[in-house]
């Protein structure tokens, strides 16, 4: 290629292909002019900041002068600067070269200067201008307007760069770039650290309106804010129709507006707001691009402002980190990352670099800190770009400066390619050119604390703290609800507690306060709280005093618990206990009844029996333990036949049931005996009675019929110990006749025996209460009984007493003894 290419694939009209300007391919003098066919336009970092800005700096004085005389002069000077550098010539030669070229190309020197700068800069302005040229040429076939656009933009740019402040930039923008578009006013806003907006430059609105709008606090929605939070250009065909306030709305209520975020490297430094007097029709794309280019121009200006902290937007951010922020993050008790933006070659925000992982940082994937520190965020945590939208949030915070805080945000981390999700509280904020990301994973202790809260709620517990010096009271949890007070009301102090309690409990509370406040010991009291709503709650208060180093009472801490439900449980328990006591009483009553029954039926000492030739004595000794009073019985009755029925029996078991069984069997036997049947038959019938008439009752009995006429005793036994015969000085038990205990089988037969008694013979019938011992076989006990029974005595009564007194029984059974003596 032999000549310069001013626009990609579009040779400029009037410029020679074989010009003096070296082509990019020409080795001579080429010190960095980017290849024209490179895929991307070089960034301003390469060109503008590197050479152009340096040149501007060198020519600053001249540019100022040019600004005063003719804005275009600055452009020419710039172009001359470019030529000086490219051609390695002096300024004078460059000026001559410029004039010569302009003549040859048929352009004004100003237009050529703009072209030269476009070519050199290859920036957004050049792009826009080029595009505009193509569009307009396509439409009108002339290049004039296109060139003027390039001139306008470059003029505005150079003015902006030359301007000492943003106000001058605004003036310049309006004059050179915006009025041709029909705009009447322009405002340049900068964003503060807190996402507030400050008016840094304005033109066309008037000083008063500007003064009114010098500051827009964070959170106030204006047209400019929409661009900031939306991070995009917003067009308002009519501001009034959009119903959104902004500067100059009073003067141009129906006028169109456009607000453009002005950012570099992913960070929005401010907003460019352009105002039209009339409603705005949709603008061609070329105009939109032009306005965006102007916004970018603003951004560079704003970025360079001394008030603005210099952002780290370079491709080589080494050394521009924020050590203070890193220091700060190390002081946090939660994990934190300090991030700085990472730009791609085109200067666009591509990622964030993790500049610092703080002391509490723990990698979810378990990697060492070093593996994360210094890495790119998306490389270290690819999942941040995913569902959690964390990356997007960081990006947004970086762009707008508006901090982001959210509780219980779902975070996903890839651990060994497995996505692990956890809930975390997130805080993202921008500090200078860095972003601080703090998170608190909801961990065990937090969960325990939360559990505790729930437990307090469920347990109806509320904690309190009372400062003894200031009287300040802190109530936690549900105390207000417990006390029936609104949260806006003052908490109740301990000293005023009595006023909320039942008068009967005032003493209790006084004692409690005495313990805690004066004796300075842990105290507790239960009282009835009378709430204003008429509800009475049973409350337990527990408190402990906290003493200072000098032993003075500093704080009282404690808790109230609503124990109403427990109280009623206790009441119920007490009632149950009362009932139980009543049951015990009833049991005692039953035992007394049993005993009375026994006594009623069988007086302990039988009144003399009017039986001929027979002395009868009885002893009944109930069990010492009343509940063990049981079913022993005896009977001695003269039958109509003048024979005497003698009987001793023992119903198994104790208590009312046994006693009832005893009554049944005793009366049954009396009744059956009237028939005149023998003892074997009587027991057989009695067995049937026991088996069929009484449930699960077995009994033993011995039954004798004494005939006074013949002094014979016919007897039988049903599982009972046989009677004892005392004759003279000897006692012997009678034979063990065959006879099963009563009630065991439906039918049973009982062996009978007959004994002819001699005068003074004594027959003893007894129940096993007299002999039963756990450690002695019954035969041994009976042998001992026989030994006692044969001891001499003055009377039958005395003999029975003697037997009872010497009884070795240890089973606390009741005991019956019947003795008959023949005379």
């Amino acid at each position: 290629m032999s000549g310069p290419r001013f626009r990609d694939g579009d040779p400029p009209a009037g410029l020679p292909r074989d010009g003096v300007l070296p082509t990019p391919e020409t080795p001579a003098g080429v010190t960095g002019l980017p290849p024209a066919d490179s895929e991307r336009p070089p960034t301003r970092d390469d060109c503008a900041d590197g050479r152009l800005a340096a040149t501007v700096e060198r020519l600053r004085g001249e540019v100022r002068a040019a600004h005063a005389a003719a804005e275009g002069r600055a452009l020419i000077e710039l172009a001359k600067g470019v030529l000086v550098e490219r051609l390695g010539c002096g300024p004078a030669q460059a000026a001559r070269q410029l004039a010569e070229l302009a003549d040859r190309a048929g352009l004004s020197r100003l237009e050529l200067a703009a072209e030269i700068i476009n070519q050199a800069a290859r920036d957004r302005v050049a792009e826009v201008a080029g595009e505009f040229v193509r569009t307009t040429i396509g439409e009108s076939g002339t290049a004039g307007p296109a060139d003027s656009v390039a001139v306008r933009l470059r003029t505005a740019e150079s003015a902006a760069l030359g301007a000492g402040d943003t106000q001058a930039v605004a003036d310049s923008l309006l004059a050179h770039a915006l009025e041709p578009l029909g705009a009447v006013a322009v405002a340049i806003w900068t964003t503060g650290q807190d996402a507030s907006l400050s008016l840094r430059g304005h033109a066309g609105f008037g000083a008063d309106e500007a003064a009114r709008w010098h500051y827009v606090p964070p959170g106030v929605t204006t047209a400019a804010r929409e661009a900031l939070t939306g991070r995009r250009t917003v067009w308002y065909p009519s501001l009034a129709a959009a119903g959104i306030p902004s500067i100059g709305r009073a003067r141009h209520p129906d006028g169109g507006r456009v607000v453009v975020p002005a950012g570099t490297g992913g960070r929005i430094h401010g907003v460019l707001e352009i105002c039209w007097a009339r409603p705005l029709d949709p603008q061609p794309q070329a105009v939109e691009r032009q306005i965006e280019a102007l916004a970018e121009l603003c951004a560079h200006t704003l970025e360079a402002l001394p008030e603005q902290a210099a952002p780290a937007h370079s491709l080589v951010p080494v050394g521009d980190g924020s050590p203070e922020l890193a220091e700060l993050s190390d002081g946090l008790y939660d994990p934190a990352l300090v991030l700085t933006p990472h730009l791609d070659e085109a200067g666009r925000l591509a990622d964030f670099r993790i500049r610092h992982a703080n002391a509490h940082f723990q990698d979810p994937a378990g990697r060492p800190r070093g593996a994360v520190d210094g890495a790119l965020l998306l490389e270290a945590y690819p999942a941040t770009a995913g569902e959690s939208e964390l990356f997007e949030r960081i990006e947004r915070v970086y762009a707008t400066g508006e901090p982001f805080r959210a509780r219980r945000t779902r975070l996903t981390a890839l651990v060994d390619q497995v996505p692990l999700t956890s809930l975390a509280d997130i805080s993202i904020s921008r500090h200078g050119g860095s972003v601080l990301l703090i998170w608190r994973v909801e961990d065990e202790s937090a969960r325990v604390a939360s559990l505790l809260q729930h437990a307090q709620r469920l347990g109806r517990v509320g904690a309190f703290e009372e400062d003894a010096l200031t009287g300040e009271i802190t109530w936690h949890g549900q105390l207000f609800e417990l006390f029936g007070r609104r949260p806006t009301e003052a908490p109740v102090s301990l000293r005023d507690l009595a006023g909320h309690a039942h008068p009967d409990d005032h003493g209790t509370i006084r004692h409690f306060l005495q313990t805690v406040l004066h004796q300075r010991q842990v105290g507790s009291a239960a009282f009835r709280m009378l709430r204003r709503d008429g509800v009475t709650r049973h409350i337990r208060v527990t408190a402990e005093p906290a003493l200072g180093v000098d032993g003075d009472l500093e704080t009282v801490r404690g808790a109230y618990q609503d124990i109403s439900s427990q109280h009623w449980t206790e009441v119920a328990l007490t009632a149950t206990r009362d009932q139980l006591a009543a049951t015990e009483e009833a049991a005692e009553e039953r035992n007394r009844l049993t005993l009375q029954l026994q006594h009623a039926i069988m007086p302990p000492v039988k009144p003399p029996l009017d039986a001929p030739a027979l002395d009868v004595a009885v002893r009944y000794r109930p069990a010492e333990t009343e509940s063990l009073v049981g079913g022993d019985w005896y009977d001695a009755v003269v039958l109509p036949s003048k024979k005497v029925l003698l009987c001793v029996g023992d119903v198994a078991g104790h208590g009312v049931e046994a006693a009832t069984g005893m009554v049944v069997l005793r009366n049954a036997l009396r009744g059956l005996a009237v028939t005149g049947a023998g003892p074997g038959q009587l027991l057989s019938w009695l067995n049937s009675v026991a088996h069929h008439l009484t449930a699960h009752v077995t009994a033993t009995a011995v039954c004798g019929i004494f005939d006074p006429g013949t002094r014979t005793l016919r007897w039988a036994r049903a599982g009972h110990l046989p009677p004892v015969l005392v004759r003279g000085n000897e006692a012997a038990d009678m034979p063990l006749l065959r006879g099963l205990l009563l009630g065991a089988l439906a039918e049973a037969e009982y062996e009978e025996a007959e004994l002819r008694l001699e005068p003074d013979d004594i027959v003893l019938m007894y129940t096993d209460g007299l002999v039963e011992r756990r450690d002695t076989p019954v035969q041994d006990s009976v042998a001992q009984l026989l030994a006692v029974a044969q001891l001499p005595s003055d009377s039958l009564e005395q003999r029975l007493d003697q037997m009872l007194a010497r009884s070795k029984s240890d089973t606390d059974d009741d005991t019956c003894v019947v003795g008959v003596q023949v005379f």
Binding site: A652, H696, L721, A744, R774
Partner: protein, 122 residues
Amino acid sequence: MPERESNLDVDVEIRDARTAVLSVGGELDMETAGRLDGHLAEQLSQGRHHLVLDLSALDFMDSSGLNVLIRSLHRAREAGGDLYLAAPNSAVRRILEITGVTTTIPPHDRVAEALAAADGGR
């Protein structure tokens, strides 16, 4: 009357689907009879209707204990089985004799004999 604890040990050995041997040791009285009753009822409910009571370690039995034997005897016989008593000591044997139970349930001297009787009772 001093408080005293009655002790009853019951070991259940399941011989087959229809036979169980219950070794009863200690004292069978009003306090403990219910426990033996429970064991016997349990075996009966499991279909083991031939119940052998090894009484060799039984020291004492009162009327309540006797009642349990009688009741279980009825239940076992109603179910087609029987109750067998084995190896009572002399004191317990005397009680069984006095109450006439020996005529209804003749005790066997040894468990093996009771088991043989149980097998023959099928």
